[in-house]
């Protein structure tokens, strides 16, 4: 009892109440995130309607292979995250550390591939406001496409980087045996966040890369 009590902050009565509060808090935070990305997706929708042809053209400049690889990488990271939560709940220390570390590694791999893609855009003069030359028609619409591309993927990458930072802390704590069957809330809550960032990408991938496939 005394050991459990130490894990419950003074404002809560029970561990279950604390866990419920933390989980609800994260869900509400994710609701704000939906609206945050929603603002950009609203802008995307408006210009996708008014500049549809230009968007279809511009999306051809994307490296669909790298985007596809990244989608697979991120989905796999969600799997390892789910396994990490499961391991932490079961109190299996080594396994949870391994799974958290794999999640981080896959997240970092995603960012690395994204970096390669960004470098390609710089090389191809497709960075609005810095170096943008569009040879084809609808230069204006293509520019808006690339602005939204950098905004959406940039904010997504920022979220992913924050997620990696959070999981780094969790990994260190898991290694010290902080999580057990009685207390694994931080891993669970971080898992919610990680899956959210993954789901955002599941929307971004078709919106950015697959326009040409629809046409």
């Amino acid at each position: 009892m005394s050991e459990n009590r130490a894990l419950v902050a003074h404002q809560f009565d029970t561990a279950a109440q604390q866990r419920g509060a933390a989980t609800l808090g994260m869900w509400i935070f994710l609701a704000t995130e939906v609206l945050f990305f929603g603002g950009m997706l609203m802008a995307y929708t408006v210009y996708r309607v008014t500049e549809g042809e230009a968007f279809a053209h511009a999306s051809r400049a994307q490296n669909i292979l790298l985007g596809g690889i990244n989608t697979a990488v991120l989905l796999t990271s969600s799997l390892t995250m789910a396994l990490a939560v499961h391991a932490a709940q079961g109190g299996r220390r080594t396994r949870s550390v391994m799974m958290l570390a794999s999640t981080m590694a896959l997240g970092a791999l995603f960012l690395g591939v994204k970096g390669v893609e960004y470098a390609e855009k710089f090389a191809e003069h497709l960075v609005p406001g810095v170096d943008f030359h569009w040879a084809g028609p609808d230069a204006g619409g293509a520019q808006i496409y690339f602005i939204l591309y950098f905004l959406l993927t940039g904010f997504h990458a920022l979220h992913l980087a924050i997620g990696i930072g959070v999981i780094a802390v969790l990994t260190a704590r898991a290694a010290r045996g902080r999580y057990s069957a009685a207390y694994s809330t931080p891993v669970e809550v971080a898992g919610l966040y990680w899956h959210f960032v993954d789901i955002v990408w599941i929307f971004l991938y078709p919106l950015i890369y697959l326009i040409r496939v629809y046409r």
């Binding site: 003074h10 609800l24 929603g38």
Partner: protein
């Protein structure tokens, strides 16, 4: 110690002294006090800008400030008052202090996050303040593109960053309240036993968490357009300025309800306590708060009737704006019905409550004028709009805030404010407010546009009236500022429950102990059981 020393028990104010005990506190009550000090500072900063504007408008010519300076004054007045005073006012001060106490909890769900939200507020505030001191901003608080993104030469980016930062503070506070209300209610405290202030905080928090991120991303896109010179909103660069307005008002209209719903919650507490009656139509009062919060998300287009959105969109937004008046009217009628045949004790808080009901009604009804498509074309961008929203934001939100501060002052400090002075100040504020803003309805109807530092000479009489009123209003704000500070040392001992209120927050000593309750209360009845209490007394 003074002869009126009350501090015999251990409470949150004498639990520790010195800057560390305040700056590193996670006690929601101390964080509320930190917020109170900071928003009061920004209130007087914003008031100073307003004072200079009213001084300039004494005469038809531009004799005090240039057009450019005037543009900066109204922009910085709006930005300061909206984001650094009104939005955090009742939630962050009274809400922080009261939400845990009213639900019978020891603290909010995430106390460290709560402190973090204050630090974020301070960083955002200082950032914006710095940008204002070193050059200012002249876009209006609405940051309309393409002026803000392409043409303005003022400190748009730093101010926008300040507001972006501040948004996180709003979100964290609201998140804390929602989780606290959901998961930390005392035993027996079911949803329909919650005080209406809690319902109001809940509805407000929902708006804060859903609307604020849209403002954040909109300002971020504005920043990208301005820094990189690429078109998102600027039509000359291929963007769409209406998109900016839609996104901006998607936040900023609900933001009006962020300001008024908390005041409605406060006023519900005041009216029922001082009428010694159960609030009339409790469930309808709770539902109407939620209805305003949700319908309030669907009316933003009424700010854009003349900016080129489709006429059909205009009609829909007009109709929805009329619908939001229904739950608002339900509240006004229910307050009136609560007062009807009540045993009204005319203390200062309820005077602010009366002021709120009257002024909010005027502000709300003139809102219907503006929601009417044809009439809006006539009064759009005139002083009619200015008068309308000041009746809501000052007549409504500030009156509610001050009423709440007076009502809960004994709980927060353990001291009574001086009743005579407080009644006098409430009267001065009411007179000063109406003298300031009622002439602006007429000015607007006659066609005086907002945001100009010069005007035709025939408008001078009404402008002089308005400036005279603003002076009275300014004095009205200084009086409570002085006597509330005075009362900290010389006020009478309040005792745990000077108003004989039935709320949970009054069932603990004043000031409350660090963990609010010596023993977590068990709730067995609905709120506001004043009639039962009176019968018991007899």
């Amino acid at each position: 110690m003074s002869p009126h020393s009350i501090t015999t028990h251990d409470h949150y104010l004498n639990a520790g002294y010195g800057p560390r005990s305040w700056l590193l506190t996670t006690d929601h009550k101390r964080i509320a006090i930190l917020y109170m000090l900071s928003i009061t500072f920004f209130f007087f900063v914003g008031g100073f800008f307003a004072f200079l504007m009213r001084l300039e408008l004494l005469t038809p010519n531009g004799d005090l400030v240039s057009a450019e300076t005037y543009n900066k004054l109204f922009s910085m007045h709006g930005i300061t008052m909206v984001w650094f005073f009104l939005i955090p006012s009742i939630p962050s001060v009274l809400g922080n202090f009261l939400v845990p106490m009213m639900v019978g909890a020891r603290d909010v769900a995430f106390p460290r996050l709560n402190l973090l939200s204050w630090y974020i507020y301070v960083v955002g505030g200082l950032f914006t303040l710095g940008a204002m001191i070193f050059g200012g901003v002249d876009t209006g608080w609405t940051f309309y593109t393409p002026f803000s993104s392409t043409y303005a030469h003022s400190n748009v980016i730093p101010v926008v960053i300040g507001i972006f930062i501040l948004g996180f503070s709003s979100i964290l506070t609201a998140l804390n309240f929602i989780v606290t209300i959901h998961t930390m209610r005392a035993p027996g405290l079911t949803w329909f036993r919650l005080p209406l202030f809690i319902w109001a905080m809940y509805a407000t928090s929902i708006i804060l968490v859903l609307a604020t991120p849209v403002l954040a991303i909109t300002l971020a896109m504005l920043g990208v357009e301005r820094i990189f010179g690429v078109g998102i909103f600027d039509p000359a660069l291929g963007g769409d300025p209406l998109l900016f307005q839609h996104l901006f008002w998607f936040y900023s209209h609900p933001a009006v309800y962020i300001m008024i719903l908390p005041a409605m919650g406060v006023v519900s507490e005041l009216i029922t306590c001082f009428a010694r009656k159960k609030v009339f139509g409790y469930r309808f009062m709770a539902y109407s708060l939620l209805a305003i919060a949700s319908v309030g998300f669907l009316v933003w287009g009424h700010h854009m009737f003349v900016s080129g959105q489709s006429a059909y969109a205009g009609m829909v937004f007009s109709a929805l704006s009329f619908i939001v008046a229904v739950p608002s009217a339900v509240k006004v009628f229910n307050w009136a019905a609560t007062l009807y045949k009540g045993t009204i004790a005319y203390h200062t808080p309820v005077l602010y409550g009366f002021g709120f009901i009257g002024l909010f009604t005027i502000g709300g009804l003139t809102g219907l004028f503006l929601a009417t498509l044809a009439l809006d074309v006539h009064v759009h961008d005139t002083y009619f709009v200015i008068a309308h929203f000041h009746y809501i934001m000052v007549g409504g939100a500030v009156m509610g805030y001050l009423g709440g501060i007076h009502y809960w002052w004994p709980k927060m400090t353990g001291r009574m404010y001086p009743e005579g002075w407080a009644k006098f100040a409430a009267l001065v504020l009411f007179v000063g407010f109406n003298l300031t803003f009622f002439p602006q309805f007429i000015l607007g109807y006659l066609g005086m546009p907002r945001r100009y530092h010069v005007y035709p000479p025939e408008f001078q009489v009404l402008n002089v009236l308005s400036t005279a009123g603003a002076t009275i209003l300014g004095i009205g704000y200084l009086i409570p500022f002085i006597y509330l500070i005075w009362s900290l040392r010389h006020g009478k001992n309040a005792g745990p429950n000077p108003w004989r209120s039935t709320g949970l927050e009054w069932r603990t000593p004043s000031p409350p102990p660090v963990h609010n309750f010596d023993e977590i209360p068990v709730v067995t009845t609905e709120p506001y059981t004043y009639v039962a209490e009176e019968e018991q007394r007899e």
